[in-house]
Each structure stands twice: as structure tokens, then as C-alpha cells.
């Protein structure tokens, strides 16, 4: 019964969002407000987890909303707005990652294995910098955003097989660099 209710609620939310998107096409401010308020948290969170910078993530999320509103004409099915917006955000994050200069010699200047939450964040940020944008995005979407393989494939516009192989590589590399950081810390101690 609960699942029927949640299905009905999802359908209701979808219908509501479709109506908002339709109103956005005419420049309705209220509808824009509703859409931004609904998707803000998810967009900023995914951008933060990928970019590891909350300010940059807010910029990207804003740009994603603006791009989505600007290119509403390209959206064939209003019901697909949510996925469309998410894809734009992921693409913008990828662009930012690609435009970043790679940090070479990460381990040379000494990586400290974390004791606290802040240190863990710093370490993770530096370890993620060692992955390519594609591997990093796949790992974050799967491990942090908890998306299914199909969802990751849909967001990144790649086949599911590619997601599997990228995730495998990303996990392996992440494991190696994590291990290296841990061992270096043990040697230092």
C-alpha cells in the first residue's frame, strides 16, 4: 500500500514539475522559484562532491539552472527535466575538472592520513585529484551519490559497460593511492 502511495506521490510530483517547466517557458518567476528550490540541494551536493569546493559548486549549480532555463526549447519531454538538469550539472562539473591544472607530485609533499573529518576531506580531495575527470565523476556518482549503474550511464551519456569498467579502474586506483598515503604515514610515524 505504501509503495502505491509513494508511486502516486511521485506521479503527482512529476505532473507538478511538468506544469512548472511549461510555465518556465513563458518566463514565469514563480515556476522558476519552485524548480530551483526543488533541485538546489541535489545539484549543489553532487557538484560539491565532485569538485570538492562548495563555493565553486554553488556557481556550477547556478550555471546549470540558467543553462537549463535558457535551453528549455531543446527539451522534448518536460517530464525528463530533472534528468536533463542533472546531466547539465554533471557536464559543467566535468568541464571545470578538465580545465583544472593537474597537480603533479602529490605524494612528494607529504600526505597526512586523516585523524579527523576535516583531514579526511582534505586527503580525499587530494586523492581524487589524482584520478582523471571521467574516473572521478564515475566514482563520486556511484559511491557518494549512490546512483545505480544505469543512472550513472544515463547521466554521463555512456554505455553501462563503460561505467562498470570505469568504476572498476577508479576503485582500483583509489585503493592504490589510499594505500600509498597510508603507508607513507606509517613510515613517517
Amino acid at each position: 500500500m505504501g509503495s502505491v502511495n509513494s508511486w502516486a506521490e511521485r506521479q503527482e510530483a512529476l505532473v507538478e514539475e511538468t506544469a512548472w517547466v511549461e510555465r518556465c517557458r513563458t518566463g514565469d518567476e514563480g515556476a522558476m522559484n519552485a524548480i530551483v528550490a526543488k533541485h538546489r540541494k541535489r545539484l549543489i551536493r553532487v557538484a560539491s562532491n565532485v569538485l570538492r569546493d562548495s563555493h565553486e559548486a554553488e556557481d556550477v549549480a547556478q550555471d546549470a539552472f540558467l543553462k537549463a532555463f535558457r535551453e528549455l526549447g531543446k527539451l522534448r519531454d518536460d517530464k525528463a527535466f530533472s534528468g536533463y538538469l542533472y546531466r547539465i550539472c554533471v557536464r559543467l562539473c566535468m568541464d571545470r575538472l578538465r580545465s583544472r591544472k593537474p597537480e603533479v607530485g602529490l605524494m612528494d609533499d607529504g600526505v597526512h592520513v586523516p585523524c579527523g573529518k576535516v583531514e579526511t576531506r582534505v586527503l580525499i580531495e587530494r586523492l581524487l585529484d589524482e584520478l582523471t575527470p571521467e574516473l572521478r565523476m564515475t566514482l563520486v556518482l556511484r559511491e557518494m551519490e549512490q546512483l545505480s549503474y544505469d543512472e550513472v550511464a544515463d547521466v554521463m551519456r555512456v554505455p553501462v559497460g563503460t561505467v562498470r569498467s570505469r568504476l572498476h579502474t577508479a576503485r582500483e586506483r583509489f585503493r592504490v593511492i589510499w594505500l600509498r598515503a597510508t603507508e607513507e604515514q606509517e613510515v613517517t610515524l
Binding site: G27, E29, M32, N33, V36, A37, R40, K41, I44, R45, S48, N49, S54, A57, E58, A61, Q62, F65, L66, F69, R70, P114, K117, T120, R121, L123, I124, E125, L139, E143, M144, S148, Y149, R171, F174, R175, W178, L179, T182
Partner: protein, 108 residues
Amino acid sequence: MKPTDFIASPPGIQEVDQPWIETDPVMDKALEALRSSRFEVSDHDPEFVGAVVRRAKVETRQRSLSYWIPVLISGIAAFLALFAVIQALLAGSEQAAHEESTLPPHSR
């Protein structure tokens, strides 16, 4: 061959990370650290919403202006050109009429 190799995975189960087959404490710890460093975002931020809607409105206005201003300028230019042509034609016909009226009667 492991005994589990004979068991076919039901549809959809492939997606699960099958920890019972292969466990790697280093991998588990690394991924756990990754998950624990997840960013959390506050539920409400009216400033963000307001900023996006303001920027969207400004963009819409700019797009609208960038569409209409060239149209307007082209319209004005076309009007001026047409006006100049009409003026030239009128001036030409007036001059012709004037010249005709100033000619001596025997030369008409």
C-alpha cells in the same frame, strides 16, 4: 572453479558490489573514507534561489534586447532609406516641374 561459479546471478543482482565474493579491507576502508567525506547541503537557501531567478530574468531580458535591438535598428535604417528615396523622387519631380514652368513659352 569456485562452488559459487555454478550459481547464476538473478537479473539486477550484478549491480550489487558482491562483498561476499571478494572482500578487500583496504578498499573498504578507502571507500568508507570517501563516503564519509560527503558534503552536506542545507535544506533551504532563499538567497541562492533568489539569485538564480534574478540572473535568469536578466538573461531573458538581455536575450530579448539582443533580439529586438537589431530588428529595431534595421527597421529605422530601412525607414530612413525609404524616406530619403521618396524625398529624392519628390525633389526630382518638383525640380522638373519648376524647370518646365520657367521655360519660355515657345520652347515648351
